[in-house]
Symmetry: C2
Subunit: 405 residues, 2 copies
């Protein structure tokens, strides 16, 4: 394998972190971070995927925050969601107004994933478009991007690639694996695939199997992409991708990430510019222009084929079908579990978390559960202002002390 | 105005109705029905629409079931939803396997809208594509279909056209106006626009103002149509309409019509043909092929431009904004109200019906309310197997007796 450090800042990746270099308002930030990468499968053989294909080489991008203890027992793996990346906390230092990593509310000195105590790892998962090998990567055999020739992969395959990274980092046992949404699926799969290698699993706002409604919503998003003439059977050039289809898919996604309540509070029926009804088909309502804005932003940072693959990997996630039943799936698990859902999440409703909890309880496993009050819908797992942080902090603290939380 | 009877059967519209002529299994059916039509605005001047435009002529298609009492006080107006039509009950007699009208469960001899007692009218609303004047109609000034040159119209305008029809039928006072979803919006608007002309209003599975989430879902459907290259700024030829976009819009719609529970029960995660994962982007899951089927069926019977207009009319429905507040909207009402919602309807959640009920109660109006237990989501109002029929029957019976229900 090859290992390198990528600085996305143009500044030395290992440069000193002084408070004067941090963007403004960075109390409790991990500060400047940089994206690292490692490549597997060059000498060590290809990865066998669940779909039957073999893939090699596989480059993985990742970030780490905090310090690995000499006993190597304080590592926490953070798993990102569909459109996320390895940049979970801190800043690249790219300039004023730069947004911090996507879970900066949770990761940093003194924060729930306390980087003074824990060594936090976040890797971009297999098949994504943020540096880890996926449909946008160049196929070494053809010299062209894989596109739809990329092999199909599953949540289980993503976990295999994360396991390769942990082997590379010489971390035998994780204190915990934590993730929301598709990241929560990975946390569940970790507990099942590598029971001896994790002490705690924290699946948040997720499910043990994608629901019919979830599959249906994903399929509409996929059809929006497949119907875009610019998609061209997946062989679109970089400068003319199927932006309209991908934006539509993202608009549908955004509706499912918010709750009816949060949409009402955020936008209500307010008109754009307060002009009232235009009597045409432009964006009259703020909620419409918000969705268009989200769609436009997304196509600048995401890839349409990747969206197809990732949504399919979610659809295929089904621990019941894979193992016979939820109980059989969890039977060999040895970790403690903290399962969290949010009261207004309708994409992964609380009932789906409760199915996980009930199966674990029937097996007499160590599981804590909280359905957290929030009116932010599915997106709540990315936001502060509710009890998630404190609950995670307490669970990790007890794990670290060696108590069963 | 011109009046004519349209037979869609090829059989005499006024032919005898004997049981031997009814399709099989037609107990309690109104039997064979035929579509009538009347045209307004030819001599009586154009209709002034809320958008500021004037429209003339306006043809309205409608059906009637039962007999108008000599006292002309037993008429019930049925308002259909977005993709509905005037054919609410009975059969055209087009052949074996013919589906009855869309609310045949409710309308017929001995049924809740008892055609032995009531004279039931259902008209295709303004702007639809089932015979009443709308975007697919030929603009008499150009000889070509209106398409996007059709003026914008609102729920209030639909009610005006229904009122023209009632004037034509010489029905001064309706026993009740009943409708679900967009039809419920019309029922509410009737109670407000013509308080002296209706005795009961039965809005079902509806809202007094389209929510931000509802507008968002409509907008995604519209964008799917507008993004289809076959849409051609609305000037598509009849033989090459924007089918992919319209099918996508319908797929989104269908997800919102079902509940998570009913999708789970209907499809779960069952694979097509039981073949398991295909590891490609075809329809692996039954829920996907169901949605595709619904999309394909819909484009054979509906028009894309019409979908744009009707979804916009829903978005614009806002009794609060139109009248200052819900209380002010209902202040002049004189009818009794029966408000019904369904427990798993997430497109028009029970809370939105309860807002209507609370406003009416604050005004000391006569209102009955029931949140009906059903796991069929929004579609429940089109289905039997729950209490809707009995509740409607009781309400109408008491209205007919002159009691305040």
């Amino acid at each position: 394998m090859t290992d390198k450090s990528i600085s996305q800042t143009g500044l030395p990746a290992d440069g000193p972190e002084t408070s004067s270099e941090k963007p403004a308002g960075l109390e409790n930030s991990v500060g400047r971070t940089d994206l690292k990468s490692v490549t597997f499968g060059e000498e060590d053989g290809p990865l066998q995927l669940e779909s039957g294909s073999a893939l090699s080489p596989i480059t993985v991008t990742y970030e780490t925050y905090g310090t690995l203890a000499p006993s190597r027992d304080n590592a926490v793996l953070v798993c990102h969601a569909l459109s996320g990346d390895a940049h979970a906390a801190g800043y690249y230092g790219t300039g004023a107004g730069e947004k911090p990593g996507w879970w900066d509310i949770l990761i940093g000195p003194g924060k729930p994933l306390d980087t003074d105590r824990y060594f936090v790892i976040c890797s971009n998962f297999l098949g994504s478009c943020y540096g880890t090998t996926g449909p946008t990567s160049v196929n070494p055999e053809t010299g062209r991007p894989f596109g739809l020739t990329f092999p199909f992969f599953t949540i289980r395959d993503m976990v295999e690639v994360q396991r390769l990274l942990l082997d590379h980092l010489k971390i035998d046992t994780l204190l915990a694996v934590i993730g929301g949404s598709m990241g929560g699926m990975q946390a569940l799969q970790w507990a099942i695939s590598y029971p001896q290698r994790i002490r705690g699993a924290i699946p948040i706002a997720t499910t043990a199997r994608m629901s019919a409604q979830g599959i249906a919503l994903n399929e509409v998003g996929r059809q929006a992409i497949l119907s875009d003439p610019s998609w061209r059977d997946g062989k679109y050039p970089e400068d003319d991708p199927p932006d309209r289809g991908l934006a539509l898919a993202r608009m549908i996604g955004h509706i499912t990430y918010l709750s009816e309540q949060s949409m009402h509070r955020k936008f209500g029926r307010r008109f754009v510019n307060g002009n009232g009804r235009s009597f045409n088909f432009s964006s009259d309502f703020q909620v419409e222009s918000y969705l268009h804005h989200q769609g436009k932003k997304f196509v600048q940072r995401f890839d349409a084929n990747t969206y197809l693959y990732l949504s399919r990997a979610m659809d295929y996630f089904d621990l019941e079908d894979d193992y016979g039943s939820l109980e059989e799936a969890f039977t060999g698990c040895r970790s403690s579990f903290l399962v969290l859902s949010f009261t207004t999440d309708w994409l992964f409703p609380a009932g789906q978390s409760q199915e996980i909890v009930q199966a674990l309880r029937r097996l007499n496993m160590d599981v804590s559960y909280c359905n957290i009050e929030s009116d932010h819908g599915h997106d709540a797992f990315l936001l502060s202002g509710h009890r998630m942080g404190d609950i995670v902090r307490g669970f990790l603290g007890r794990l670290m002390k060696g108590e069963r939380p």
